[in-house]
Amino acid sequence: MISIWLIPGIICLVLVTATIKKIPSYEVFVEGSKEGLQIAVSLLPFLLGMMVSIAVFQASGAMEAVLVLFEPVMNAFGAPEEILPLAFIRPISGTAALSMTTELIRTFGPDSFIGYLASVMQGSTDTTLYIITVYFGAVGIKRMGDALKVGLLADLVGILASIIIVIILFQ
């Protein structure tokens, strides 16, 4: 697999270039690293707050109840209702989405229609709420402007696109 070579390759390229240009690489590394630690520390309150709220929503069973309401919408697009929880949870929680994708692939088989759909959906969008929390939290942005609307609308387009593409290609 290429991916095994990718990261060591990047590290090697950076270090070789720095050494040729006579840059004190170790000192510069430490200097840059310190910023990483600061970012991580300032991140915790944002991440923790958001994760607790989502966990409460999920554990209470309210999430499942909301999903039932959306079933007719999903059926109108010709998508199986088994995929609905994944489509709904993908922008909200990355770990929950991955475990749902894994469960769907395990139950229906990786080469079934639902298996393909779950794979493409999981791969083609990211966890919007997590990214907004982390990216804006890390630098202390308080006013998010239209960021959330843009992210969620793009997710909706991505999920609909996944369904349509998989229907065309695999059914």
């Binding site: 991916s3 990718l6 950076v14 270039t17 510069v28 840059g32 910023e35 990483g36 630690l37 991580a40 520390v41 991140l43 991440l47 923790l48 958001m50 994760m51 607790v52 709220s53 966990a55 409460v56 929503f57 999920q58 554990a59 209470s60 069973g61 309210a62 109840a65 395990r106 990786p110 080469d111 493409v120 959906m121 791969g123 083609s124 969008t125 966890t127 919007t128 990214i131 907004i132 982390v134 990216y135 804006f136 890390a138 630098v139 202390g140 942005i141 308080k142 006013r143 998010m144 402007g145 239209d146 960021a147 959330l148 843009v150 992210g151 793009a154 387009v157 991505g158 996944s162 593409i165």
Partner: protein, 196 residues
């Protein structure tokens, strides 16, 4: 809007639990999540410390500037507000490249560093135009090789685990284009409102 979503998720959850008899699960979830959040932050800290150190070397060695020059025509169009030769461009490009190759844990540190540069550029705690665009690019996830999904498919015995790559790329291109268009639309709407 985030304040409202955050509060509503918790309030609806607790009220629903009261009627649904799941209050015990809610309690469990709260304390379990605290641990989880700390664990995620710690593992993110390792990744952040490593990649930001390495990328600092890349920046000093001129590699990031090189990347920025190479993709200048594209980035200029997507981020018209960032001045030429600004270090944010190099980090944005590293973030996008890492995303494309499915290196999620390298993409986040570079995206965060890019955000920080953009904040230095704008100097306020309001999200700037470029910040929203960077966010839109990341939420729509520009993946070329969905490594995690391929691994899961392999594990459950797919006859062709990589068969979804084409469909994923197509879906990701559509969602990324849509993200950029929606972002532009909201930008012009903001501008019109301020103009009135």
């Amino acid at each position: 809007m985030v304040n409202l979503i955050w509060a509503l998720l918790a309030i609806i959850g607790i009220v629903y639990a009261a009627f649904n008899g799941t209050m015990k699960e809610v309690n469990q979830a709260i304390f379990q999540t605290l641990d989880e959040a700390v664990m995620i932050t710690i593992s993110l800290a390792g990744v952040l410390v490593f990649w930001l150190g390495l990328m600092k070397i890349a920046e000093e060695a001129g590699l990031l500037r090189g990347l920025a020059v190479l993709f200048k025509p594209v980035v200029r169009r997507i981020f018209p507000d960032i001045p030429d030769n600004h270090p944010a461009l190099g980090y944005i490009l590293s973030n996008m490249t890492a995303n494309m190759f499915g290196l999620g844990n390298a993409a986040t540190p570079m995206g965060l560093k890019a955000m920080k540069e953009l904040k230095d550029l704008s100097g306020s705690d309001h999200a700037s135009r470029s910040m929203i665009t960077l966010l839109a690019l990341n939420t729509s996830s520009l993946t070329l090789i969905p490594t995690t999904v391929i691994a899961v498919r392999m594990k459950y015995g797919s006859s062709d685990p990589t068969s979804i790559i084409g469909a994923t790329i197509l879906a990701t291109i559509i969602s990324t284009c849509a993200a950029l268009c929606i972002d532009r639309y909201f930008y012009y709407r903001r501008k019109r409102r301020l103009g009135l």
